[in-house]
């Protein structure tokens, strides 16, 4: 058997049990060697490229937080000029770079219908900078910029009627629908709980002509307040509870996944929420 070349090596600086890096391993398994990666600023960039080291054995570039989609466009234009139609261009970014600050640039890339696979590792917050709320943070999650108020403190100051009991007041932005509204031919959602599903979706996305978007829920150990061996389990629960169902759209049609039965969802909702510090 041909020995597979490791496209991302161990020894990076991510947290033990990191949901994102686990998902990245599955993505990298599916990527061909003939691939160029444009990475946004974030955990993935910081933990894998402490100069002069690099965990990447594919050509890899990091420019800014909000511009990897445009950088990828530029790479693709360069390849086109070189008459290279084989090399794949893949963007890797977090939810902050995707849902918030990079949104306009992604819209431009999708408008141009470019053959770029965009992968968003959704930790539902700005994990790299200390778990601040992003457009991907779900309703009710306590983050460092949407913290729940302290009950004891408000009693002292008699200000309990003003306290934030909810955490994040805003609903999670629906990036999947935004991608579909751009007529992105392949749009998929999965979680770090399903390595093979990630692998299959990346493989399929690469076969599609035109843009593809895959959003992977990546449980963040310190941010979500989970144990180092729980990222995969929590990733599975996210789907089973219908908080983050597996989805796969081809030309706007749902071809796999979707909501689980109410019964299944009910069974897992409480476990999913109770396992995490951010909903306490």
């Amino acid at each position: 058997m041909k020995k597979e070349i490791k496209k991302i090596s161990s020894g990076h600086n991510a947290c033990a049990g990191c949901g994102q890096l686990s998902a990245v391993q599955s993505v990298m398994r599916a990527l061909d060697k003939d691939t160029i990666i444009a990475n946004a600023t974030g955990c993935l960039e910081v933990t894998t490229t402490p100069y002069p080291q690099s965990a990447w054995s594919l050509p890899w570039i990091h420019s800014l937080f909000e511009n990897p989609a445009a950088v990828a466009t530029g790479i693709l234009a360069a390849l086109k000029k070189q008459k290279n139609q084989k090399t794949k261009v893949v963007v890797m970014a977090g939810d902050g770079g995707t849902f918030d600050i990079g949104m306009g640039v992604i819209s431009g890339m999708w408008e141009r219908k470019e053959n770029i696979l965009y992968i968003c590792y959704d930790t539902e917050s700005y994990s790299n900078t200390g778990f601040q709320a992003s457009g991907a943070t779900p309703y009710g999650a306590s983050t460092s910029t949407s913290p729940k108020g302290n009950q004891e403190k408000c009693q002292i100051k008699k200000s309990c009627d003003l306290i934030n009991k909810t955490g994040n007041h805003l609903q999670k932005k629906d990036m999947i629908r935004i991608a579909l509204a751009h007529d992105v031919p392949y749009v998929a959602q999965t979680t770090a709980g399903y390595p093979n599903d990630i692998y299959n979706k990346v493989k399929k996305a690469l076969e599609i002509k035109g843009p593809a978007y895959i959003q992977i829920l990546a449980p963040c150990i310190p941010g979500w307040g989970i144990k180092t061996d729980e990222a995969v389990e929590v990733g599975k629960l996210a789907n089973q509870s219908n908080f983050y169902p597996l989805l796969e759209y081809l030309n706007g049609e749902l071809i796999s996944g979707g909501l689980n039965s109410e019964e299944t969802a009910e069974k897992h909702k409480e476990t999913y929420i109770k396992k995490q510090g951010r909903f306490k």
């Binding site: 050509p59 570039i61 445009a70 530029g74 693709l76 234009a77």
Partner: protein
């Protein structure tokens, strides 16, 4: 003599500045062009789109959704081994700022035209050089053109320098006054340009290539980070000489005679050891020259390479004058003008005064310059004209 004159005449055309730059860029044959046309732009990118649409271009033309994206797109193409081009102006440049710094930090040989225009608020679409001053120290070599002919030549030089020393170059041309002005311009053909500026080929191991994978834009700890900034600083200092060598080589190949006291850094115009020297950059030099010609003991120092600033060379040329009047189209709130501050470092005992004018397109006329010369002593350190 007669024969040479005839050839030169044939090559000269009456063109809009933007058109002249666009034609030159096409002859330089970049691989990728990307720009955003609005906030505010010039006809350069429209012309490049038309040239492409007419099938007369070899470059990929990518329509971006903002200047921020346009700069990021050319960054990506450059990192993937392409010769690239973009153009912007005023607000567009400010929107690009984060990428501007990133391009120089990553040592990418990007070349861009900056059609100099005022910055909002208040909103104005007219010319001044405040946009350039906002990013003057971002790690880009900054050329300033007096006229469209100079702009054309500075673009050719820009690519040679950028690709040789891996520092991006911005060519500044005054918005409207140059970009929208029709004047006589000589456009150099691709064949002649190629003799000076060969086809670009990025070196293996220096660009994104699946056959020789590299990591670009890695995260640096303090000691590595400072070293990388220090390296860029040192290469900037070295660039002063390199720009000048390439400048003379270019003009030799292009068949242009360069007069004494004219080089890549500046042009000294007027009597040797003049009492008063007026220092400025860009199109306003034309007005100043025209007035200086009629005055006695007045010379003009036109700065062409603003970054890196050739302090030593300028010190030498200003050595024997008594008065230095720095006229500039940008204001720094809370201190003197940027050009003034740079010249001030290079002066010795001379009296130096700062004249800020031309903001938001306000005209600088010969009478304003005449007044500066006549009443030099009466003026304060900094004056609005």
């Amino acid at each position: 003599m007669k024969k040479i004159k005839k050839i030169k005449k044939e090559k000269t055309q009456i063109l809009e500045g933007s058109r002249a730059i666009a034609l030159t860029i096409n002859n330089i044959s970049p691989d990728v062009v990307s720009a955003y046309p609005i906030t505010p732009q010039t006809h350069i990118v429209e012309d490049l789109a038309k040239i492409k649409a007419n099938g007369e271009a070899q470059y990929e033309y990518v329509r971006a959704e903002s200047e921020f994206a346009a700069a990021s797109i050319v960054l990506g193409s450059s990192a993937a081994g392409s010769r690239v081009y973009s153009a912007t102006s005023s607000q567009g440049l400010l929107l690009m700022t984060e990428v501007i710094y990133n391009i120089s930090g990553m040592r990418l040989p990007v070349v861009m035209t900056l059609a100099n225009r005022a910055i909002s608020a208040p909103i104005s679409i007219w010319n001044d050089q405040q946009d350039a001053m906002a990013i003057k120290d971002a790690g880009w070599i900054m050329f300033f053109a007096e006229n469209n002919q100079e702009a054309v030549e500075q673009h050719i030089l820009a690519y040679k320098i950028a690709e040789k020393i891996k520092i991006p170059v911005m060519v500044n041309v005054d918005g409207f006054i140059l970009t929208h002005c029709y004047e006589e311009v000589k456009i150099y053909e691709q064949k002649i340009i190629n003799k000076f500026l060969p086809k670009y080929k990025a070196k293996s191991g220096e660009f994104l290539n699946t056959k020789n994978p590299i990591t670009m834009g890695a995260f640096m700890s303090p000691q590595h980070y400072q070293k990388s900034r220090e390296d860029l600083y040192k290469d900037f200092q070295k660039a002063i000489k390199e720009i000048d060598q390439e400048y003379f080589l270019m003009h030799k190949i292009l068949g242009n005679k360069i007069e004494k006291n004219n080089n890549s850094w500046f042009e000294y115009y007027g009597p040797k050891n003049a009492k008063t020297v007026i220092v400025a950059m860009g199109s306003t030099i034309g007005t100043i020259k025209s007035l200086a010609k009629k005055e006695k003991d007045v010379a003009v120092l036109k700065i062409k390479t603003y970054r890196p600033f050739p302090h030593q060379e300028i010190k030498k040329i200003l050595k024997n004058c008594q008065n230095i009047a720095v006229v500039e189209k940008a204001v720094n709130f809370g201190t003197f003008g940027s050009l003034y501050l740079d010249i001030n470092i290079s002066k010795e005992k001379q009296t130096i005064k700062n004249f800020i004018g031309g903001l938001g397109g306000k005209d600088i006329g010969e009478k304003d310059i005449k007044k500066i010369i006549k009443d030099f002593k009466k003026y304060k350190k900094l004056n609005f004209i």
